[in-house]
Symmetry: C2
Subunit: 397 residues, 2 copies
């Protein structure tokens, strides 16, 4: 049984704050500053260039991939880390399309994170082969899986509402129609159990700065199913995905398995932050995390619905159908969220009207949920949010 009081003690959480935005940026693991300082001083400073071998920097992306793989049901040796999620989406989609050359449709939904759609749009334009990016409503995806579809590209958990797709059923349906799947696990990895292997997923990608707590701009990850790993063609064919990077051959030969999805030099300092963050995950069972997350989100929904008549639940009511966040609609949601942040309840806002709250049992408990409910009720019911200063939009919302 995961000891959540023990995991909570491992994070640096500012006094007086209830942090319900770990679905956007996880908090600082207390061990990170010292570990990163040691990496800087002992490895970069002390080993200089020899750190690539001596400190194991070169092998780190695969080592970290395996640690993430454990949380998402991937076979060992089939996840690597690096770049950003957008880049990994591009790689996965390009590889999948290359395996379904005769087909021209990429199917996705309007609940997908826009960057995934933008990357797909850019890729298809680049390919110039008459492909179509077909974007349908989330609940219409299943009906659109036809034998025209080359690739089904979805984010499992909707970033706005928390609505969760049935990965297993949609993957099976895609396969039955002869299509491949690319799953974005941005709001799944560390939020709920994922079973890539059991679902027969083809490609999956995700980021590490949300539920995995790797810090701002932490590296992304990519999974390639073992059955595809030896023949997936990496569109972004960089030297660290080469079979022998240090032979410096002029021609590209893909490396073994998912290694070929590596591109350029890995960001070692960010990788070290990810390493520390994953140490906390070694103490947790993702099934316990999911059970606790459901308790917390149910408690939150019940509390808010009882106390805040102006907020409309935007997330599915059935916990099995949502991820680890709860969203409410409110026309002046931006201002309301600024007012909450000023009172110490940090969630975030997603246009046009979504107030989003993430629940992360590693460091959020019932006491936090109850405090958040009380403050939200006070801010909403007193009209304290209705001030000009809360309505000025910042660059990042």
């Amino acid at each position: 049984m995961t000891d959540f009081a023990a995991t909570k003690a491992l994070f640096d959480l500012p006094e007086g704050i209830v942090y319900l935005d770990g679905n956007s940026l996880g908090p600082l693991p207390k061990a990170a500053p010292a570990r990163i300082a040691a990496m800087l001083t002992d490895e970069w400073g002390g080993m200089l260039i020899t750190g690539w071998n001596k400190a194991g920097w070169m092998a780190q992306p695969m080592r970290l991939g395996d640690r993430i793989g454990r949380l998402i049901g991937a076979e060992p040796g089939h996840v690597t880390t690096g770049d950003t999620l957008s880049i990994k989406v591009y790689q996965a989609l390009a590889s999948a399309l290359e395996m379904r050359k005769g087909r021209k449709v990429v199917l996705s939904d309007s609940g997908n994170f826009p960057s995934d759609l933008y990357m797909a749009e850019g890729l298809l334009r680049m390919m110039g082969g008459g492909h179509e990016l077909r974007v349908v409503a989330p609940d219409e995806v299943e009906d659109h899986i036809t034998d025209e579809v080359a690739v089904l590209m979805l984010t499992e958990v909707d970033y706005r509402t928390g609505r969760r797709h049935d990965m297993k059923r949609l993957t099976a349906k895609a396969h039955a129609a002869g299509a491949l799947t690319v799953w974005d696990l941005a709001h799944s990895a560390g939020a709920l159990p994922v079973d890539l292997s059991g679902c027969g997923a083809d490609f999956a990608v995700g980021c590490t700065y949300k539920y995995l707590n790797a810090g701002p701009g932490g590296p992304a990850f990519i999974y390639v199913a073992p059955r595809h790993a030896g023949r997936a063609v990496p569109a972004l064919s960089g030297w660290l995905g080469h079979e022998a990077p240090f032979a410096f051959d002029l021609g590209y030969r893909p490396g073994a398995g998912v290694d070929r999805m590596r591109v350029g030099t890995p960001p070692v300092i960010q990788m070290t932050a990810l390493e520390v963050a994953l140490d906390v995950w070694d103490m947790a069972d993702i099934h316990d995390v999911r059970a606790k997350s459901i308790e917390l989100t149910e408690r939150f929904i019940a509390g808010i619905e009882a106390a805040c008549p102006t907020l409309d639940l935007a997330s599915p009511r059935d916990p099995a159908l949502r991820g680890s966040q709860v969203s409410f609609r409110f026309a002046e949601g931006y201002a309301a969220m600024q007012a909450l942040i000023a009172r110490g309840v940090i969630g975030d806002f997603r246009a046009p009207d979504i107030m989003r709250f993430g629940f992360t049992p590693l460091y959020i408990d019932e006491g936090d949920v109850d405090r958040a409910i009380a403050i939200i009720a006070d801010v909403m019911n007193s009209g304290a949010w209705d001030r000009a200063e809360y309505k000025t939009r910042a660059a990042v919302t």
Copy 2:
């Protein structure tokens, strides 16, 4: 006049080491651990998600781009940072090809860094439009600039030999032939004065972990000439290159200018290391750095040639024709370099037979050069390198 004793004092250089590999990985600025610890604790830890606005993380890639721009002769506002160099090569080349749609040849040379060629190969295959990557010998580039060429893609300074292309002349010749240019400045930025604006360069890219000292896996940079910035189509069209990332529109609209070359969430911890590294550059004049670099490389070549008859100079003898490194050929160069590293002179080896030494005046002085010459002479002339332990290849060479 740059005070090189003062800049040298800002780096953490291990006792007893002569570090001649700053052309591969620059050393640790002494200020980095404390500054990064403060970023972790005060910004990530203390501000959490609000750091994107309050700590200025979102604007950081452009801010850092301008600081690099100063060193490479770019107009303010036309350089941004992020991703890896391989990714930025892909973006630049894709954008350039889009502007020269009728033409099918990408011209490069066999002295280019292999990853640049691999990325081009992957891109051209992806485009499926019958493009050709034409790779010629470095000294034959000029003769191959014909009206078939869409893009001339070169690394200014050869990673193996240090041979330097004439950026101004080749750019002019490319333009006269109706082609665009993509310049890789990996071994130029911080090594010698670059004048992108004066050369009329179209696109340029580079990395920050070599002469700029941003640490292992530091972010790359990309320059787009002002005349192209508003119409370059970013192939990797991620959300942070969108005109309004936080509108979360389903369709992509490129941001203003070089901003559109941003892709995903920037690696803030690595960016902070780059920021500290650039503080040192604020104390240096790149023309002084170049003058000192020439003094040091001339001294090194003279010393080695006088003392080591078995080493053959692989770099141009004329300092105007080389970057800030000196390379020698030696059939057993790998073993010889391992022996040197064991004796405290750190350079590196590049297959098949290149022993490479980088000269970085910010922290290398005449005393270091003389010590290196003495140790190299001793190792080479005594046959101390000829031991089995030095011949076993490590993962990273």
